[in-house]
Symmetry: C2
Subunit: 125 residues, 2 copies
């Protein structure tokens, strides 16, 4: 697959794909004799994984570390597991915060709905 095909398929810009490669999130992409990147299905899966983790808020730096460990082989299995477990805990915290914020917004919206009915109220902010 060319970079533009992967870009469409994974909904990530070609520039971002090249950026991820430079940043160490993707390595060893095959090239055609002419030097053009030739992505495999496996590469796409990895890109989807990166996309998913990025959208949840994992930093480029954390992902770079993860894939760097990967390059160092089997002996880093535990380190990688722990890195993921740690990020998982961070997400769990953010998950709870997000839940609270949604609840807070729900309450605020309900206050607005009341104010809208009683025709003359105003809120503090």
């Amino acid at each position: 697959m060319t970079i533009s095909e992967v870009s469409k398929k994974c909904n990530v810009s070609a520039d971002t794909l090249r950026y991820y490669e430079k940043a160490g999130l993707i390595s060893f992409i095959n090239r055609t004799p002419g030097g053009v990147r030739n992505y495999t299905e496996q590469d796409c899966k990895q890109i989807e994984f990166i996309k998913c983790m990025r959208s949840a808020g994992l930093s480029i730096e954390v992902l770079r570390k993860y894939f760097e460990l990967f390059k160092r082989g089997k002996r880093t299995l535990k380190a990688r597991r722990d890195l993921l477990a740690n990020e998982r805990e961070n997400l769990q915290v953010r998950f709870k915060e997000l839940q609270d914020t949604i609840r807070r917004l729900d309450y605020k919206i309900s206050v607005y709905d009341k104010a809208l009915k009683s025709k003359d109220k105003e809120l503090k902010f």
Copy 2:
């Protein structure tokens, strides 16, 4: 309350408080005759609200719009309500995504735990 007191109380840097003011997220902070900001308890509540919304991912721009509507008075009640309801929906989407990502990480961690037990496996990424 001075800016440094609010900074401690709300755990937001003084620079950030001034930045929020410049950005239109806070307005009409009282000043002492000498020109020093003098925050009220109400101001703090608003800052806590901003902090909460920011940490959930609402942009400065969205919050600026919200408080701008506020300045325009009661006739913007509905618009403000709708703005909040819209942001709430966005958060709900992110909430579900986050949940999925946590599940995905849990699965991946479990695969690592299996690999660690069987002593010779490696994963794809």
